[in-house]
């Protein structure tokens, strides 16, 4: 474990340096025009710059995915994992909205402040309990239980319960809960997130810039700017007419009708970043280290116009930006690119991250070498299990390494299984050579020290499987005996064994010369 931890920290240091020397441009991508505005808006002669959508990797080393940041981040208020969607503690006016797992009901409290005509104000604390069957001011089993819910606790207050396979819409003011139709058991829709679709927001920045208007100057020299087109970008101020985005476990993004609580078509999908080893065409939320999706509507009609989505690859080295129209058709997409060091061609950023910047190849080799000090069996297991890990957890993995070169190779969608396996063994080459050499050393030492054949075999097998870790364990736990030269065969032998483990001879201690006579008890002599 100490070895794994030390290798992890060293590898993290290499990766941090790689992230630090990565050119900023390699982690940035933009599309101009965005393609979401009508042509007449985009091509308005008063426009100086067209609309732009852009995305930027803030932290390629993915420090928010590290254990402590991830642990604390999942437990702050308004975090999905902690099921507290709102929390405020200003003394008497405390308010909250959270799911109580023990009762399976949502617990809600706020303080209503009403201003009276005479200038005074009255305060009334409202406490509500919400279940699938209704809302009440007192806890009531008849309200039912939510079991496994995902939620969008923005203004719309939408929920989806995986076990009940229904959507719910909660109206706190009216104290009502509306049930949607139940999805069939074999329904293709498997909602994973509703409303604000984002993961690891601190790693990825996504923005939408409206068109910039030209300035004009009157005869007196006063500068003025014509009013911008009435465009409201999405996200925190998004007020949809009636649709909200739902992210599916497959990576597809659907539209949900907030009135009927039924699906109303496809909005798009999470774009797949291009990694060092070719990845799948379609990615799921678990395959991505970070993603953000912003739906866009115009202020004048709040009509849904489409969405922009950005996704960061598992390793944090590549970013893809995509724009979808209102029908879910891809309008445009772009990958982060960098310049190759030799001929300055455009190559994917996942490649320039490791080889582009000065000193990057050195750090990459360092990272590769450190990964090869890892136990070979765990490296091989990383190869086979690389796709099963959720992307963020790979950044805090100690034993299985889904973000290692071998792990990346395991996810390569281009090659056949045999080709992948062969290239994995090539990548593990130094590790295998090291394991074989250490295995030879362990075998030799175990024979010298007189371990039994069975024990020697197990240690050698263990060293092949676990490499340096097994060798260190062997050195720390091997019997610490000073060997003595056997008078018969001349090889070192263990003094705590009755016979020489090489020639099976009994003991003879030539350095001691006791006298030939003995004066022993007559009983002993007999």
């Amino acid at each position: 474990m100490f070895l794994s931890l030390s290798l992890f920290l060293a590898s993290l240091w290499c990766k941090s340096i790689l992230a630090g020397i990565m050119p900023l441009d390699d982690g940035t991508v933009s599309l101009t025009p965005s393609g979401l505005l009508p042509d007449e808006r985009e091509n308005d002669p008063n426009i100086a710059f067209q609309s732009t959508v852009g995305a930027h990797i803030i932290r390629p080393e993915a420090s928010p995915a590290l254990g402590i940041a991830n642990h604390l981040g999942n437990r702050i208020f308004e975090s999905r994992h902690v099921r507290i969607w709102y929390f405020s503690l200003p003394g008497e006016d405390s308010s909250w909205l959270y799911l109580d797992k023990s009762s399976g009901q949502i617990n809600c409290r706020w303080t209503d402040v009403q201003r009276m005509p005479d200038g005074t104000s009255t305060r009334k604390t409202v406490q509500l309990y919400i279940g699938p069957e209704g809302v009440s001011e007192i806890p009531d089993r008849k309200l039912g239980r939510f079991t496994s819910i995902i939620e969008d606790m923005s203004e719309t207050h939408l929920l989806y319960d995986r076990d009940l396979r229904r959507f719910f819409r909660l109206d706190l003011r009216k104290r009502t809960i509306t049930k949607g139709p139940q999805l069939l058991k074999d329904d293709l829709h498997k909602p994973a997130d509703i409303g604000i679709l984002a993961k690891n927001r601190t790693i990825l920045d996504l923005y939408w810039q409206p068109p910039a208007m030209k300035k004009s100057q009157d005869d007196e020299g006063r500068v003025s700017y014509p009013p911008p087109p009435l465009i409201r970008e999405g996200y925190s101020t998004y007020q949809p007419d009636r649709y909200v985005l739902v992210l599916d476990e497959s990576g597809r993004i659907d539209l949900l009708d907030t009135e009927t609580l039924e699906f109303a078509g496809t909005a798009g999908y999470l774009p797949a970043p291009q990694t060092l080893f070719h990845s799948k065409e379609r990615v799921t939320p678990d395959d991505l280290l970070a993603y953000r999706v912003i739906p866009v509507a115009l202020k004048e009609d709040h009509k849904y116009r489409g969405m922009i989505a950005a996704a960061v690859s598992r390793e944090g080295t590549a970013l893809t930006l995509a724009v979808f129209d209102e029908k879910g058709v891809l309008i445009n997409s772009r990958q982060t690119m960098g310049k190759s060091s030799g001929d300055y061609r455009d190559v994917p950023s996942s490649s320039t991250f490791f080889f582009g910047a000065p000193w990057a190849p050195v750090m990459t080799i360092g990272k590769f070498a450190l990964e090869n000090l890892h136990p070979p069996i765990l490296s091989l297991a990383s190869y086979f299990t690389a796709s099963t890990f959720e992307a963020g957890s790979g950044h805090r993995a100690l034993f299985l390494l889904p973000n290692s070169f071998i792990g990346m190779n395991g996810r390569d969608a281009r090659q056949s299984f045999l080709e992948k396996l062969l290239s994995a063994f090539l990548l593990m080459g130094p590790s295998i050579i090291l394991a074989l050499w250490l295995n030879w050393r362990v075998g030799k030492d175990a024979a010298l020290v007189g371990l039994s054949r069975k024990a020697r075999r197990w240690w050698m097998l263990g060293t092949i499987a676990f490499g340096l870790a097994a060798y260190i364990t062997y050195r720390l736990s091997r019997p610490k005996v000073t060997l003595v030269t056997c008078a018969n065969c001349g090889h070192p032998r263990r003094p705590d064994m009755d016979k020489c483990h090489r020639c099976a001879s009994q003991w003879h201690v030539p350095d001691l010369t006791p006298p030939p006579w003995r004066v022993l008890d007559s009983a002993r002599e007999n």
Binding site: M1, F2, L5, L9, G67, I68, I84
Partner: protein, 209 residues
């Protein structure tokens, strides 16, 4: 056994005093942070608990090292072994003493945290889980560092227990940054503790005194 534990406590009283002082300091920091959290600089008090915990890690590791180092070099166990006491009991008494010292730090802090939670926060389940998780992980971390101290302390050299233990403890402490405070780190720490204690027990019971 009580006599052995009493002997250990008396011999290492300074660590118990340090534990009490740390406990008091932590409670003071937590209380100040809780009552001043919304004021500017209020979260500084929370930040100050981190170096204090690092110091505690070093202190408990040093306690483990000191227990074993002094025992070996003053031949205390050699003397005790001539009395009706087994080596396992001697080691168990040391470990119980270490656990007591850690509990002296953590128990009052836990009680204070729970009390502050009841006073200042509504009874939302996540707060209880947060405190339990943090306290359990901290206990296991401190105990693991203490066990590392026990393992590295049985030597005549001064360098190995000083720098070896310090290095290993810092690596172990970084596990919190890598894994957080969740069940994974607890499992890993339990494994580290088990490995250290088994190795220490084997070393202590088979070595010549």
């Amino acid at each position: 056994m009580l006599a052995l534990i009493k002997r250990e406590i008396q011999d290492h009283l300074v660590y118990f005093i340090a534990a009490l002082a740390s406990s008091a300091a932590l409670i003071a920091l937590l209380s100040t942070a809780a009552f001043h959290f919304e004021r500017p600089g209020g979260d500084l008090f929370i930040g100050l608990t981190i170096p204090l915990i690092v110091i505690l890690v070093i202190v408990f590791s040093a306690m483990g090292v000191t227990q074993m180092y002094l025992d070996r070099n003053r031949r205390i166990s050699a003397f005790l072994s001539t009395l009706p006491v087994t080596r396992s009991r001697i080691l168990t008494a040391k470990i119980i003493t270490g656990v007591l010292a850690i509990l002296i730090v953590l128990l009052p802090v836990t009680i204070a945290a729970v009390a502050l939670r009841h006073l200042l926060l509504p009874s939302i389940p996540v707060f209880a889980n947060l405190i339990t998780g943090f306290v359990t992980t901290t206990f296991l971390m401190l105990f693991a560092c203490y066990c590392l101290g026990l393992l590295t302390g049985w030597t005549a050299s001064k360098i190995t227990p000083t720098f070896g233990a310090l290095g290993l403890n810092l690596i172990l402490f970084s596990l919190i940054i890598v894994k957080g405070f969740g069940p994974e780190i607890r499992l890993l720490l339990v494994l580290v503790i088990a490995a250290c204690l088994i190795r220490t027990w084997h070393k202590f019971t088979s070595t010549s005194l």
